[in-house]
């Protein structure tokens, strides 16, 4: 089975974001960018499926500007066989991304499509589910375990009350949660090898998709700062404060 992995280029998770002075957006000038951490888990899962003989080929796909090639090369260094960039101006909104990925899906005909559950920039948690709806596929979101048995994909999901397992008919969609696996680091030889792996570029026009934005960002501001409080020197003082000052116990 072929596995398609959708990845996103985002701000590195170690970078502290700052809001621009004009409140138009966050400031990403000269900021380190990386593969979205949940998408790294998606790549890892796909590569493990290939290593265990359950997947025949791993194709990484990204939607965004040409700089996303860097993240696709990372995916190739981590073990993807080839990569596809759907090149757009900036990053389209989730419905358009889902439509573009549906176009790639129709061309590639994979048996499994793996997404990160959310990107750490927009924090939307939408694209995988939107894609699944457009493609008419079953979805195993927030996956902590994926097992393939013939034409069935069993996905254990992290839900509010605990864990839920669903059986999906392949082809199916999985979105990864944190505990699905621990992604590997790319080795230097693999980084070198990745430079020679194929990376194709497609356009929205070639996929017959009109990229549309329907959500306008009017303003971006930093969150209300929480004022740090005081340090108390004993449990006794703490209990006194909670009882008599904060009055919460």
């Amino acid at each position: 089975m072929k596995v398609l992995v959708a990845i996103k280029r985002v701000i590195d998770y170690n970078v502290k974001v700052r809001v621009k002075a004009d409140n138009s957006d966050v400031d990403l000038t000269n900021v380190k960018m990386a593969v979205n951490p949940f998408c790294e888990i998606a790549i890892e899962e796909a590569v493990r499926l290939k290593e265990s003989g359950q997947a025949t080929e791993v194709v990484a796909v990204a939607v965004g500007p040409s700089q996303c090639q860097e993240q696709l090369r990372t995916a190739l260094a981590l073990g993807a066989d080839r990569a596809i960039l759907v090149e757009t101006e900036g990053f389209p909104q989730p419905l358009s991304v889902a439509k573009l990925l549906k176009g790639v899906y129709d061309q590639e005909q994979p048996g499994l499509v793996i997404f990160g559950k959310q990107s750490i920039d927009a924090d939307n948690n939408q694209t995988g589910q939107m894609f699944a709806a457009l493609a008419g596929l079953g979805q195993g979101t927030f996956a902590s375990k994926v097992e393939i048995a013939g034409d069935t994909v069993n996905v254990t999901r992290e839900v509010d009350g605990g864990l839920q397992t669903v059986a999906l008919k392949a082809p199916a969609v999985v979105t990864t949660d944190l505990r699905l696996n621990e992604p590997r680091y790319a080795s230097l030889p693999n980084i070198m090898k990745a430079k020679k792996k194929p990376l194709d570029t497609l356009t929205p026009e070639a996929l017959g998709v009109e990229v549309k934005a329907t959500i306008e960002t009017l303003r971006v501001e930093p969150p209300a700062e929480r004022q740090g409080g005081i340090k108390v020197d004993s449990v006794e003082a703490l209990v006194d404060k909670l009882k008599n000052e904060a009055k919460v116990i």
Partner: protein
């Protein structure tokens, strides 16, 4: 305006977060219809009919909607959305699972995790792990929105008397089925609804050591939470995780024990009214948001705390 509110429930009863979503719906204004989809969900539909300010309850009671499989429920919601200007649900794992699917079926974008209603089409939502707040305006014909429940004060649970209308349609996409679930049995308040939350982090050292937090939690009738580090280390189950990708909580009192305060954890609890941090590392970032910090060995401080409250 006409709002379709998708109820969060377990068939027998409404999940309390539905009351917070109702508050968001009332902030938007207009006519409110509640959709209850499930299997044997009549009791939940009756509870929805009693919600204040609700004009109608749609009840889709069918085996295919059991366990809220998104593949089957999403087409139902999309169908019921006809004629409505907004579709709202909680930003719970259920809402996150189903609502983007609904949006795609309606060919619209979606606004996730709103924390305020500015107008009928404009909302505030956190992004970048809560490090920035965006004001966004949707031009879609139907606004599909999930609501951060801690940002809206719950409405009363009673006061209304809406009619319940049965929906006959049963969508079966035939691509997914429920296998099993391991739902953690709680003898404490639910994490996202508790007045007090006691959370442990990596500093707890082991799952066994979480027991010392239980005494404090028992005395305060608190829910128990954990940081991602504690869940990843296998100390406690995933449903206890508080943070950017876990549960968002905003109790009256949040007691963080042995939690350093990674930004992703803070994103899940910094709206708590009073934050207490107990950590032996005086430079831990958690102290920057804590109202009361105690630099101490938790294994001494927690039993002392239990004894004194």
């Amino acid at each position: 305006m006409s709002i379709l509110l998708v109820a969060e429930h377990n068939d027998a009863a409404l999940n309390p977060v539905t009351l917070n979503v109702l508050a968001a719906a009332q902030a938007i204004g207009g006519d409110i219809t509640v959709l209850v989809a499930g299997e044997g969900c009549g009791a939940a539909a009756e509870a929805a009919a009693a919600l204040p300010g609700v004009s109608k309850v749609l009840c889709a009671d069918a085996a295919v909607y059991g366990k809220q499989l998104a593949e089957n429920v999403a087409p139902l919601i999309a169908e019921a959305a006809a004629g409505h200007s907004h579709v709202l649900s909680a930003h719970s794992t259920n809402g996150k699972n189903t609502m983007p699917r609904v949006a795609a079926l309606l060919d619209v974008n979606m606004v996730s995790d709103i924390i305020s209603v500015e107008s009928e089409d404009t909302f505030k939502r956190p992004f970048y792990a809560g490090n920035a707040i965006a004001t966004v305006k949707s031009s879609d014909a139907v606004k599909v929105v999930t609501v951060r429940h801690t940002a809206f004060d719950a409405t009363p649970a009673t006061g209304g008397s809406a009619a319940v209308e049965a929906l006959a349609s049963a969508h079966d996409a035939g691509v997914s089925s429920f296998v099993n679930e391991e739902i953690v049995k709680l003898d404490r308040p639910e994490l996202t609804a508790a007045r007090v939350v006691v959370s442990g982090g990596r500093g707890m050292g082991s799952g066994e050591n979480f027991k010392i937090l239980e005494g404090v939690a028992d005395k305060l009738n608190a829910a128990m939470g954990a940081s991602r580090a504690a869940v990843d280390a296998g100390f406690v189950p995933n449903d206890m995780q508080v943070g950017q990708t876990g549960k968002i909580v905003a109790p009256e009192l949040y007691i963080a024990v042995g939690i350093s305060g990674a930004i992703q954890h803070l994103a899940g609890m910094k709206d708590s009214k009073v934050i207490v941090a107990i950590n032996k590392d005086e430079d831990a970032p958690i102290f920057q948001v804590a109202d009361y910090g105690l630099v101490a060995d938790l294994f001494q401080a927690v039993p002392e705390l239990e004894a004194q409250i």
